[in-house]
């Protein structure tokens, strides 16, 4: 009986200490966020539309139909923001691989024959994949003026039986 009391008391102490740490953390986090100039909202809209809307209200997103038209007219360069392995397994025909995780390594080579006015369409895979969005913002910062994101690009492209290719031997 005494042994179980000891164990119970130790458990209560553990939970109490953990709760103290959590409470302190919550208070510190909220207070510091309110006090800082670069605070973030406590609750934010993370929908695709919200994430892809720019400061001027325009959306970075391009509909598949428009992307398809640009592709058929050979009027845009498609940039695959996924890693090299996934790119090699399959990608939009003619797309170039600019993996977001190694963007600094790939960037100079990939863009060396590209004009800053060239329409560029970035894509990755999955509704909430953010690599293409991050890459698009990076390209805009680097001076590219016509950058769009094809949301869920790889899946949408494949599902619509549009031309793809793979580099796997």
């Amino acid at each position: 009986m005494q042994q179980s009391d000891v164990l119970r008391q130790s458990l209560i102490d553990t939970v109490r200490e953990a709760c103290f740490i959590m409470a302190l953390s919550i208070i510190a986090a909220l207070a510091v966020n309110l006090a800082r100039t670069d605070f973030i909202p406590f609750i934010q809209d993370w929908s695709i539309e919200a994430r892809l809307s720019q400061d001027n209200g325009d959306s970075l997103s391009i509909p598949l139909s428009e992307a398809k038209t640009l592709f058929k007219g050979n009027k845009a360069i498609f940039l695959d923001a996924r890693g090299q392995e996934l790119f090699n397994e399959g990608h939009i025909k003619g797309a170039r691989n600019l993996p977001w995780h190694a963007v600094d390594d790939y960037f100079p080579e990939i863009i060396k024959d590209m004009d800053r006015e060239t329409p560029v369409i970035t894509y990755c895979d999955g509704e909430s994949c953010n690599l293409s969005h991050d890459l698009a913002l990076f390209l805009k910062n680097m001076g590219f003026t016509q950058v769009k994101v094809l949301v869920n690009g790889w899946t949408a492209w494949v599902e619509n039986n549009l031309p793809i290719e793979s580099d796997d031997k």
Binding site: D5, Q9, F20, F42, Q44, L86, L131
Partner: protein, 152 residues
Amino acid sequence: MNSFYRFFYHLTRLVLGAVFIYASLDKILNPGAFAQAVFNYQVLPGELVNLTALILPWVELILGACLLSNRWMTGAASLAAVLMTVFIGLILFNLARGLDISCGCFSTKPGEGPMDKLTLLRDILFLVLALCLAGLTYYKKTVYHKNKLYTV
């Protein structure tokens, strides 16, 4: 505790404390970028992304400070073990899904590279340390309560 356990206890709490504090700093300094990293895991509803991104680094910082200063040890060590379990679960989940995202463990910058099996191994090592520490601190706590019981 004999001298080996005492040495192991102090070494483990200092290592884990330093790791948690180091892991928290970049996230506290860049809450927006860390919120993006949290969102990229695609496991939380949008309403909880920013709150998690704000609170989690402070949990890491304060529990790291507790571990370094040897205060609230059972709570801090248990929380560390819980956090490491959650992190490992998330990494396993995303590796299984083949999601190509940054870990966001120590840095909010994309240059940290995508998570891989090494990330998983590192976190398992930290989990083992945290579990050992939680076990030792819990043992110390029971000894303390036992002594108190017999001296009353």
